[in-house]
Symmetry: C2
C-alpha cells in the first residue's frame, strides 16, 4: 500500500426532503449566489424547493451554465458575484454546474491576472476560495463530494481538470427524488460515469490493497446490479438512492487511498468532448475498453479480478479472465444502450489524428505507468474506431 492522505470534509445531507435543510446549511449572514444550468430546475420543482428554503436570505441568481462549463461563462458569474457582493455560492444542478461553481469560487478569490491559470496549474495557484454548497440534481460525476472541477475554454477547444481542497463543498444535498425527472440518457450517462470513475482507480496494478479493491467492487457491483431499475423509467426511490450514493462514493477519494490510479481514459476522453462534443460518459465508454486492451499486459491481474468479483467469471486462466473482464464491461455498456465505438459518433482516423496532435503538442504522458505518449494515444484510439 502506498502512503496516502485522506481528507474529505463535505457534509452530505442525503434523502427525501433534504433540500428543506438548506435554511440551516447555508450561512445565515451574507448574500447567496444561486447558480444553475439551462433551467430544468425551474420545471422539475427543485428551484421552488431551494428558493422556499432560502426565503429569508438575500439571493442573487446566475443561470445558464452549460454542459462542459466554459471559462467564458464562469467569468461572467465571477463579475456578477463581485458586483453583487455575494459571500456564498450555492450550485444547484449536475456535475457541470458544480464544477463551474468550484471554479467561480476559486476565481472570486484569485489575485492573479488570468484566472485560467487556476486550471492550467491544476489548482496549484489556489490559496483560498469563496465558500460553496451544492444541491445535486444529476448523479454522475461525483463532484458533489470532491474538490475536483473540469473546465473548458472555448477559445482554444481545451477541457482541463483542477483540484484543490479550498473548493470542497461545505455541504452537498442529495435528494434521490429530484432525479425522477431526468431523461434516461442522463441516467445512463450517470451509471457509466460512476462505473468508469471506480475503474480508473482500480484497473491498474496491485499494491496489496484488498479493502480498497473490495470497496471499488462494492460500488461497481451495485451499479451493475441496479442499472436495470435505475433506467426503468419508474419513480423507483431505492434505485435512484443507490445510484446517487454510488456516484458520490465513486470519486470521493476513498477508493484511491494507497493505490495507483490511471486516468488515461479521462484525459483522452476530455479531448473527444472538446473536439467532437461527446458527453463525458460517452467518451469514457468508448476509450476505456481501448486503454484496457492496449495495456492488457500491465493490467491483466486487476482485469481478471474485475471479471471474478464484479462479473462473476469463475473459470479460465488469468489471461482469459482479463479478456472476459474487458468483454463483459463492453457488454454492460451496450446493455444500457451506451455506444462503445468512435464510429458510432462518426469519428474515424482523421478525428483520431486531431486528438493525437493535441497530445503531441502538450507532450503529456498518461496512465499509471506514465508510458502512454501521443503515439500510443493514437494506437489506443484506433482500437476504438
Amino acid at each position: 500500500m502506498n502512503n496516502f492522505t485522506f481528507y474529505n470534509p463535505v457534509r452530505v445531507v442525503f434523502g427525501k426532503g433534504a433540500i428543506g435543510q438548506l435554511g440551516e446549511l447555508v450561512p445565515s449572514e451574507g448574500k447567496v449566489m444561486l447558480l444553475y444550468g439551462g433551467g430544468s430546475i425551474k420545471k422539475n420543482g427543485v428551484y421552488t424547493q431551494v428558493t422556499e428554503a432560502l426565503t429569508d436570505r438575500e439571493v442573487v441568481e446566475f443561470g445558464g451554465i452549460e454542459s462542459n462549463p466554459k471559462l467564458e461563462t464562469c467569468m461572467k458569474a465571477v463579475a456578477l458575484a463581485a458586483q453583487e457582493g455575494a459571500e456564498f455560492l450555492l450550485a444547484v444542478g449536475g456535475g457541470s454546474v458544480l464544477d463551474a461553481t468550484k471554479f467561480i469560487a476559486a476565481a472570486c478569490s484569485y489575485a492573479g491576472d488570468d484566472p485560467w491559470e487556476i486550471v492550467v496549474t491544476r489548482g496549484a495557484v489556489i490559496r483560498s476560495a469563496m465558500p460553496l454548497g451544492t444541491v445535486l440534481t444529476l448523479p454522475a460525476t461525483g463532484s458533489e463530494m470532491n474538490c475536483i472541477s473540469v473546465i473548458s475554454r472555448e477559445s482554444t477547444d481545451e477541457k482541463l481538470a483542477f483540484k484543490n481542497p479550498a473548493v470542497f463543498p461545505k455541504f452537498s444535498v442529495l435528494d434521490p427524488e429530484v432525479t425522477y425527472s431526468l431523461p434516461t440518457k442522463q441516467l445512463r450517462n450517470g451509471v457509466v460515469d460512476a462505473f468508469c470513475h471506480v475503474m480508473e482507480q482500480y484497473i491498474t496494478y496491485d499494491l496489496v490493497t484488498p479493502l480498497q479493491g473490495r470497496q471499488s467492487e462494492a460500488i461497481a457491483s451495485t451499479l451493475v446490479e441496479w442499472a436495470g431499475r435505475i433506467l426503468s423509467g419508474q419513480k423507483d426511490y431505492d434505485a435512484r438512492a443507490n445510484l446517487m450514493w454510488c456516484a458520490a462514493q465513486a470519486l470521493n477519494g476513498l477508493t484511491a487511498c494507497g493505490v495507483v490510479e490511471d486516468w488515461a481514459t479521462h484525459m483522452i476522453g476530455h479531448e473527444l468532448t472538446a473536439f467532437f462534443g461527446l458527453a463525458h460518459a460517452e467518451s469514457l465508454a468508448v476509450v476505456m475498453p481501448g486503454v484496457w486492451e492496449f495495456e492488457k499486459g500491465n493490467k491483466k491481474a486487476k482485469l481478471a479480478q474485475l471479471a471474478e468479483c464484479v462479473w462473476g467469471v469463475g473459470e479460465g486462466s488469468v489471461d482469459e479472465k482479463a479478456e472476459a473482464g474487458i468483454e463483459k464491461t463492453v457488454a454492460f455498456f451496450e446493455s444500457v444502450e451506451m455506444p462503445t465505438r468512435l464510429s458510432d459518433y462518426g469519428i474515424g482516423r482523421e478525428g483520431v489524428k486531431k486528438v493525437v496532435e493535441r497530445f503531441a503538442e502538450r507532450g503529456t504522458v498518461l496512465g499509471e505507468n506514465q508510458d502512454i505518449d501521443a503515439e500510443r494515444v493514437g494506437e489506443i484510439l484506433r482500437l476504438c474506431i
Copy 2:
C-alpha cells in the same frame, strides 16, 4: 434507505514515516499537550518520533491514561491543561488514550458544573472543544476517525459512550509500522473489535442499502482474510496496513449511512468490562453470538447474507444460512484464540444477574428494534455462559 447525514472531516495521514508530518499537522502557535498511556510509546520509539517532530513546539505531557479511561484520570488532565494553558491536545496511543483525549477536549471547554454530564447526556451538552489530533498506536476501536468516546467512572462502575462532532480529531496519523511492537493479544482484540463494529451496523434488517452492505462485507472479509498474517508475529507491513485501514473504516460513519444499527452487543459488553474487567473486544466476542442467537428471527436475512458474502456459504435455506453465519463467526473468533463464553472468564449466573440489575435500574432498551429490555439482556447473557 433511511435519510442520513454523513460528515467526517478527519484528515487521515497514513503510511510509513507519517509521524514525521506532525510538524506540519500540529498548529504552529500555542502550547501542545501530549497525552499517552502506560508508557509503551517510550519503549517502542513512538515517543521519540513524536517529540522529534515537535522539537520547536512548547509541549506539556500527561501520561498514565489507563485502558477503559476513567473520568477521574481525565479530570487530572483537564486541570493540567488549564494550569499550563494548553491550546491543542495530541493523543498518542490506542482507543483509550484517544477516547480520553476527546473527553478532555470537551471538558476543557465545558462551562457546566459537572463534566460527567458530557457523558451522561451522550455528548448533547457539548458546545465546543479544544482542538485535538491523534497518533494511533493500536488499530481497534476506530476512535481515530470518529467523534465517539467511551469513558468509565470508577466511583460508580459505569462505562458510557458519548458522541459530538466537536471532538472529531483534526487529524489522525496512522503508521502501520508502530504496530510491530504490539503483543498478539492486542492485535487479536483489534481484529475482533473492528469486525464487531462492522457487524453492529450490518446485522440488523434490510433497508435496501446494497452499497453499504457490500462496504461492510469488504471490511469484514478483509479482516478475516488477513487475520492469520496480522497475528503471525512477523513484521508484515501489508498485514498491519490492512488492519489499520480496516479498523479506521469500521466505525467512521460510512457503513452506517442510511441503515439501521444495533449496538446491543456494545451496550451489554460495556457492563461486562465495567463489572468484570474484560477487554472491550473480549466482551464483544462473548455477547455478539448471544445477541444474534436471541434475535435470529429478526436478523436472519442479514445473518444469511453474512454467511454467503463473508463466509462463502453457498448452500441451504435462509434459516440454515443464518445459523451458519453465527457458527462461522464464533469459529472465526476461536481461530484467533478469542474466548467466546462468559465461563471462559469465570462469569456465571450470578454475574449475569448483576448486569441485568444494572439495565433494570437504567430502564434502557437495546437493539435495532428497541425490544431488548433488562429481562432479555438476562436471556441473552445466559445463552453466553
